[in-house]
């Protein structure tokens, strides 16, 4: 039976660890060996909305494994603009490729693609729902920084109310043992209560604060997100909080030596460029981990690893 990667809700801890192990395995392979693994295979990218970063990461992953990439990253010039149904597009595209990566503004589209196609489907974002390769690469980065995910101390900073990336990573981390969370956000952008539940539906308690400086002293990972002006009904409220969640190098003076700052990127001004050259910057390594994790996923779904 073919495998797909659609949602973190489909994965238990063993499945997640399997993908992280694969990434580790891929990272250990010499480049000249990697480039033979998917020679002759074709990956189709079906992007119904632009996401240059995610698309480039998948393209890099596939090409470094020796495979080719075809597809589209907007729909204006395709038959979709002529009114073709999504299912028909999938049924057509699967005849060109060995696997499909889908990004779509509507929730559930990747699931529909997986039900429609007979080749593996990878979800690269379906509306506000899921973006599992982002979550897996975040977990891989955390594991690389600290040797394990269990017992890591992590601060989520910024827009915890609307960030899909934060919600998904947060829920995945709840599957691990002893993870300690600090939730740093303005009052109006707190993590939604429905996420703060154990697997059995028990209400969990978390350390919530608006003090970024204090959080830096007691965490191993600081996961930054962008606070978007359009989330605020009153622009004055935005002006009040935007600078409180801006990380600068001087604020990291008393931070634990092995602390890493992560960010799903692109950043705007929530991380000052003077952090980039410090030992705390992990966000560009995170980009590289993204390619490796996606290579592991491609190799797994295409039955090579």
């Amino acid at each position: 039976m073919k495998s797909d990667l659609i949602s973190m809700n489909d994965l238990d801890l063993a499945d997640i660890e399997h993908y992280l192990d694969l990434a580790h395995q891929v990272e250990g392979l010499p480049a000249q060996e990697r480039v033979r693994l998917l020679a002759g295979r074709v990956l189709m990218v079906m992007f119904y909305e632009p996401s240059t970063r995610t698309r480039l990461s998948f393209e890099s992953a596939m090409q470094k494994l020796g495979g080719g990439v075809i597809g589209f990253s907007e729909t204006a010039s395709t038959s979709i603009a002529k009114g073709e149904s999504f299912s028909d597009t999938v049924l057509t595209c699967e005849r060109y490729a060995d696997a499909i990566v889908v990004r779509h503004p509507k929730e559930g589209t990747a699931r529909l693609a997986a039900e429609t196609a007979s080749i593996p489907i990878i979800n690269a974002g379906d509306g506000t729902n899921q973006h599992p390769t982002q979550t897996l690469l975040d977990l891989y980065t955390i594991k690389k920084c600290h040797g394990q995910v269990d017992n890591v101390r992590i601060a989520f900073v910024g827009d915890l109310k609307y960030s899909r990336t934060v919600h998904s990573l947060f829920q995945a981390l709840l599957k691990y043992q002893g993870v300690k969370f600090t939730l740093v956000s303005p009052e109006s952008l707190r993590l939604p209560g429905y996420l703060k539940l154990s697997a059995e539906g028990r209400q969990l308690d978390f350390d919530e604060t608006d003090d970024l400086q204090a959080a830096l002293a007691q965490n191993d990972i600081v996961y930054m997100t962008r606070i978007q002006a359009e989330r605020f009904a009153d622009i004055m409220d935005y002006e009040k909080v935007k600078n409180a969640y801006c990380l600068e190098a001087r604020m990291l003076a008393g931070a634990p030596a092995n602390l890493k700052v992560l960010h799903p990127l692109p950043r705007v001004n929530e991380i000052s460029p003077d952090v980039d050259k410090s030992r705390f910057a992990g966000y560009f390594d995170q980009v590289e981990s993204g390619v490796i994790v996606r290579q592991g996923i491609l190799l797994s779904l295409l039955g090579v690893l």
Binding site: H104, K106, G108, R111, E115
Partner: protein, 157 residues
């Protein structure tokens, strides 16, 4: 005239009684039943706002029909789980049970998330899975949003 109760709820010789319907839901159940071929011309009595020890006020339906088809019961379990279904024969209740929420719902309810693909592509027929054995929460297979049973938008046949 034996009792007021008798007057309010005329007995049926044989058929199905849907009892313990939360007040206000009876009319919706009637609409559902009447939308099914085979039940659309059945004799149905609808009673509203009876006193009930359990619910305070309740509605009740009596249907002259040998049974309710499986699909009707599946539909009813979304709209009105918890109601009591009684089989009446020869003026006596021959069997009764409480209608439980379904474990899976497919094709009988729409997802209320307007951005869910099931509301846009004909090939994506909305389906929902119950989160746990005792839960009234259901997850949409497509958008993965979690809904209470009574939030779902029933699709009439």
């Amino acid at each position: 005239m034996n009792s007021e109760r008798h007057l309010l709820i005329p007995k049926i010789e044989s058929g199905i009684v849907i009892d313990h319907v939360p007040a206000g839901l009876g009319a919706g159940i009637l609409e559902l039943l009447r939308s099914y071929a085979g039940l659309d011309d059945a004799q149905i009595t609808l009673g509203l706002n009876y006193d009930s020890n359990k619910l305070g006020r309740k509605d009740m339906l009596k249907i002259i029909a040998p049974e309710l088809p499986k699909k009707v019961l599946a539909h009813l379990s979304i709209l009105a789980s918890g109601v009591t279904i009684k089989r009446v024969d020869n003026y006596r209740v021959q069997g009764k049970y409480s209608l439980q929420p379904p474990d899976h719902i497919e094709g009988l309810a729409r997802c209320i998330n307007p951005n869910c693909i099931s509301n846009h592509e004909r090939q994506a027929s909305a389906r929902f899975t119950r989160l746990g054995e005792t839960s009234h929460k259901f997850r949409c297979a497509y958008c993965e949003r979690v809904f209470e049973l009574d939030e779902l938008d029933i699709v009439l046949p």
